[in-house]
Symmetry: C3
Subunit: 316 residues, 3 copies
């Protein structure tokens, strides 16, 4: 989409080099063909080093936009970003893409749907009722159990197993809210990438990124009814027990163990080899690796045990 | 069903005007063609003003039944109501209804199932593996992602998005239990109504009402793996984050925000613009609007933070 | 598989009677045609009375293996058991089995998939998008709602109702982990057995046993989004409210009531008629029947109420 068109859609003034914008991205990740935005004072410091072709911002931050980048000034940058996200969203399916490619030895149930443009590797099984979206790529020796849904543009590696009724690549939970309390959807134009040797339980949901990818690294094990939010990154061999989850943009190191019904807040970084007992609530990043935690608020597991002893005394 | 037939099915005496009963309902909502029941002393005060044609009750409460309404006296009113609920349940599908109507510009995947009697609006997409039940009505510009199931008799508005593997209109969790500990299903003969501009995540479940409707109002946003119980009413623009839920018959005002893994007990009323931090457990109604809460038991969010400081001191 | 072959696969020495091994099982349940293993000192005492044809063990425990049983000595018995489990896993579907049998009066949607070797009773409905695996047996008068997935080799009784998008028989969450932190899948070669008169909500998951069966007894009621782990046994008429769950191998007596978002740790035994308030966390077995509990850690419900009063005082 041309910059002039974008400016018009969001009611911003624009005069200058009317280049073609390919997509949207964060300030730090945007390339010189991408559009970015700043909607939170926390990110103002990232404006000056952004490579974005243009940045949606309000009047107060417009002066921070570096030379070489166009400031698109609006009253409500986050809302306008949401407005634009719809225009960058691909169609639900690429009806004009080539028919899906299916590798040697793979079995696709006639009752599964593999959309145009998808690519299935060798010796992979796509069972009845499964749905594989356009441009999604699935590796070799992978099993997609019945009624799994993989949205478009995702990648699933080799030797993966996805159990029944799970969803990979549904939209992350993102919207802007105006001062009337109305919501505007932020289209989630990223994807999900699952590396090799991953197993995912039944009725688990892994949301696609708003920009970029939600990433599960090699060897991850996810149980049933788990929620992985958009833009999370789950380290190698990490384990999520049933009914646990993570809000968006949290990054786990390798071999993190997440007990049942535990959950992470968003935008955290969790050191490798951390272990969280069942029903932990993790709201802060963890820098030291190899420790065990419990509780909500989270604390050292031994401290949590000590606290329970103290509480028991309160009622004696 | 004739009153005489009903009386016979539940072993109640009956002599009088043998009118046709169309369905069952609560004491307060029943019309003069409906049957009601009283099974809990809490509701005895609603008997005298009930418009119901007949009321199933025990001996002790029979005298409260107003003139113009027939008392059907049984030993176990709740169990007998469950017995009758099966007789008022419609068939799973209306095989004799007309073929579904699909509006202009709508795309229904040949791998979706749209049951007879359903009506799909304009420019709506029903993707592969989705199921739309008999007499269900879906509006315009709505997206039903793969493998979503919408049971019969539900209504979904315009501009809605329902993500993969979610279920709208499954039976509420209702049964009577006798003194042997055995359960008898209470058929859920109500429905679910979703107004316009609603987005629902993947693997979320919204149960149909036992009588009347479970109602999600305009602009509601529901994340993944959320449970909405039967007969809930969710106010405009309210938000449920992943893995949260509500038991039955709870009513939320507009713009209530429900944090991840939070849950409401049943039969509550929650003031508009209330905010619940992650993992809140709400067991009482909230009358004052615009406040923020945490914890289980629930308390003011700042009080909860203060409590955590006190607890941390206990183990120092 | 011959014992000699098994020994070769896991790098164990073997010389002796090269009998055919039919499958794997626990020390206590293995028959003289089955293979077992000991990977946890807790189970060493069960070796001497095991009927297993052969036992995978490490050097230190080899001397405990009784006469008549072959010790297969390896460095990492649990890992090697995982290696072997793949070799005992059946194919995803029995393409060579006879076409499924469907009883009189039953309706199978042409959009459902009933795999070869399955048997459906009388007057049962298998709705669109449902999947019934090979050799799975379903009784009479049962309703399988759209997009339910029942994996192979399971049994579902008469008069059961399984709501949309639920999964019965997906793999339990089992794997061995080596000292590099890598995981090896333990194939779950058991099944799920649902007795008669059971109702299961939508998007609920019941995992198949690693050996033997996950068992839900007569009259059980399970709400939406519930997780039942492998090898659990749920007693007659027990009730799980939405978003609750149980880790593996826990056994509940009859008429246990499990509140919403509650969860059991694994390997517990719970007395009949126990009641758990919403969000209980049960980590110890319960021997006395008929009591009510709350909290995490779990305590008597009245004690929990008392504790909340004390905590409220802390912040006054």
């Amino acid at each position: 989409m041309r910059l002039s068109e974008i400016a018009k859609l969001i009611g911003a003034d624009f005069s200058g080099n009317d280049i073609e914008i390919t997509s949207m991205n964060t300030l730090s990740d945007a390339s010189s063909e991408q559009l970015s935005f700043v909607a939170n004072s926390k990110y103002v410091k990232e404006i000056s080093t952004s490579q974005a072709a243009a940045i949606i911002c309000d009047k107060a931050t417009a002066s921070e936009v570096p030379e070489g980048s166009v400031a698109l000034v609006v009253d409500a940058p986050y809302w306008q970003m949401a407005v634009l996200s719809a225009h960058f969203a691909p169609s639900l399916e690429d009806s004009e893409a080539a028919q899906a490619l299916v590798g040697e030895g793979s079995i696709v149930s006639p009752k599964a749907e593999v959309a145009n443009g998808a690519i299935i590797g060798k010796n992979t099984q796509i069972m009845a009722g499964a749905y594989i979206g356009s441009s999604t790529v699935i590796g070799d020796n992978t099993i997609i159990y019945p009624n799994v849904v993989v949205y478009r543009d995702c990648k699933i590696g080799n030797n993966c197993i996805i159990h029944a009724n799970s969803t990979i690549g549904s939209d992350g939970f993102g919207f802007a809210t105006n001062n009337l309390g109305e919501h505007k959807k932020i289209y989630q134009n990223g994807n999900v990438v699952l590396e090799d040797d991953i197993e995912i339980g039944s009725s688990t949901t892994v949301d696609r990124a708003v920009f970029g990818s939600t990433l599960l690294k090699k060897g991850v094990r996810i149980d049933n009814l788990v929620q992985i939010g958009h833009n999370c990154e789950i380290g190698e061999y990490s384990v999520f027990v049933a009914q646990s989850g993570s809000a968006g943009s949290t990054k786990l190191g390798r071999n993190v163990v997440v007990g049942g019904q535990s959950a992470f807040a968003g935008h955290l970084e969790i050191a490798p080899f951390s272990t969280f007992a069942a029903r932990s609530g993790i709201t802060k990043s963890i820098k030291k690796s190899g420790l065990t935690y419990s509780g909500f608020p989270l604390m050292d597991h031994k401290l949590w045990l000590k606290l329970q002893v103290k509480l028991a005394r309160l009622i004696k």
